[in-house]
Homo-oligomer: 217 residues x 4
DNA sequence: CATGAATGAGACTTCATTCAT
DNA sequence: TATGAATGAAGTCTCATTCAT
């Protein structure tokens, strides 16, 4: 399953050398949890099933987490970290808020196509743990404010703009994972989001059709 | 509006008068379920708790529903019916698709303020039972197509437009119930949705600020 | 279903004229119970299902029986009565114990073919309520003793002879209802039972092949 | 014989020594189930009661069996295995089908006296799970066919012969456990069974009175 | 740390029985 | 008597959590 792709080789602290096995198990558990999220949602995560999926004994989970609640928390955090990577990598060298937001939306849309499991896990977590929205929100808010400063975005209420951008994007991603691909889905969604934020039609189209950084063109 | 009519003002003792009290229990159960949805979401509905909330014995539930699954189904249907009333009543005499959609969005936003429990229940159900989306979708699609025919909406993909409109609106409603009122929330959200569908700024503002039918002005 | 055949037209008291409807319901319940026995065994008789099968409301059962246990008892008694009729009718005019027993066995075997539902109900009741055996036993014991007196039967222990005759016959009946017809099943079983009781081969065959009274020969 | 080995002489505390105690629980459960069968029959086995009888928590059962159905299955299998031991040990070195069958019948009759609980459990299982009959049947069929080849048995239909032998023997066993001992019960029953299969009186008595192998005479 | 058997609370469901109409 | 809604005990099963090894 592709969900394995984002995982267990790097961690910010990089604990090189010595004791590698130690925290490897923890990552196995988090990865396994994401796979289960994709299948069954957050509410469907049973610790016995998690242990089996991770290839450890059920008791082992409690060597890494104090309770089920803490597992969910940790998985949410893990997902937030992976999320950050997605966003940061994609719009590293871009200054325009509108373009950064557009890139983010398109990146997520493409992620929904390339890794539906991860996407389902994300959607499930966002629904379950409202707190996850803040992880999304922190990046988004910066882009919104930049776009606003730069005269591209015109919104009457920032909180509402954030809510609408996030939920619209997740809704579009959900469409892709549940109903299959749509031609140019990433650009369509990005353009609609830009328009919702007050970017005029032509400009929105223009931004939405810029080549994605990192693409080979 | 009548949607609040089902509620908790009478208890088991007050079955004087009348002679149809038997089937009233079903409505008590549905109402109680909606209250629990609001608190705990669909996944949090335990039949034990439902029985207690409705003031009946656990076995009684099974006089009205064959299984937990059927309870969820029935509550979803109940919600869908109440939903339809909301929408139909609101935009009865309006022909413009854009205006109809705008009225719908604003009506729901106001509902989020006036009946947060019902709204939380709705959000939970939409997330849980994807089928609920079709209830929403059938009304929405008609308005989208009308707006498209009438030259107001310009969207590249209808499915994606529906997904985005629904999720954006629910996201905005969610903001209200979770974080409290926002000045002119209904108009702000409606305008953003219209813009996402390609309605230009000025026109979107104009439509969003039309008086709501049924309002006393 | 053929199970209906033995029922509700006669009762020893014959309560002719006037109030016929009264005790009719009771018979409906007993008949319905037998049909359920055939399908699900005694343990599978649920009073709700019984009420539905009998076409009455569940509460009505308690106008005729004080508890589930009493229903079972009454059905057992009903079955015993029907059983008696079977036996008495068949060997009315026969004096030889061996012949009477043979007729009884053959009659039951044929009943197993012609009314598998009734037979399954009987088997289920015999297993469930050991007391039912005494109803069978009282007829059987007379025949055994007669056959013994007449020099046909030679058994060392009457109780054991009764147990074996009853269980062997029921076992053979069970074979028929569960696995389908067997050529000359009635004669084969009867002959084996006679032999078990010490009747020599030739004589056993002879008795087993006598025409059944009531047959058109 | 070893068949009594599984029983109730140690409780939870006595798990000193040894280091395989884990899988012992399964046997505790099977043993407890047999004791309950003896008291209440297969239909009377409630998992709550089983857990208590076995001295474990109710959840523990599900560490060994996936459902109630699987418990019944496993207990049936256990009983079938113990059954096989009974039969195989008893008539190991005997070639005559008639003698083998006779030994089997007598062994079971004696078992009914020495271990009524086990016998009640067996009877209950045979009634409940028709599949158990095949376990019995496979041994029996071989003996029947051998006796037939050897000119001792004369039956017209093998299936019916099997049904009658099995049910007659179980009926005789049932008499013993329900009504207490009968002088020479094993020989009496065995002789009747042999006669039912066509063995003449004198020969049947002779075979039924042979000393049982394993007896000290 | 790892294991996995054991635990027990709690969920869903069935069903005999009661009772107001 | 008949009805059928309501009851609540009891049963099956799940699962987070503990603990001895």
């Amino acid at each position: 399953m592709a969900t394995n792709a984002h995982s267990n080789t790097r961690k910010k602290s990089q604990l090189t050398r010595g004791h590698k096995k130690k925290a490897r198990t923890r990552q196995q558990l988090l990865d396994a949890a994401l796979r289960i999220y994709a299948r069954a949602g957050v509410g469907g995560l049973a610790l016995n099933a998690l242990a089996e999926e991770a290839g450890v004994s059920n008791g082992t989970i409690y060597n890494y987490f104090r309770s089920r609640e803490q597992v969910l928390e940790a998985v949410g955090l893990e997902l937030a970290i992976q999320l950050s990577e997605q966003i940061l990598v994609a719009s590293e060298a871009v200054d325009s808020g509108a373009e950064r937001l557009c890139i983010a939306v398109r990146t997520f849309m493409n992620k929904a196509l390339s890794d539906p499991d991860w996407t389902r896990a994300l959607i499930s977590v966002v629904r379950y743990a409202e707190g996850m929205r803040s992880a999304l929100g922190s990046y988004l808010r910066a882009d919104l404010q930049a776009g606003h400063r730069q005269g591209d975005f015109h919104y009457a209420n920032e909180e509402m703009a954030m809510s609408i951008v996030i939920s619209a994007t997740l809704g579009a991603m959900n469409l892709l994972v549940e109903q299959g691909p749509v031609e140019h889905a990433d650009r369509i969604a990005a353009k609609m989001v830009l328009q919702a934020l007050g970017v005029p039609d032509e400009q929105a189209r223009h931004i939405a059709e810029l080549p994605l950084p990192g693409a080979q063109g």
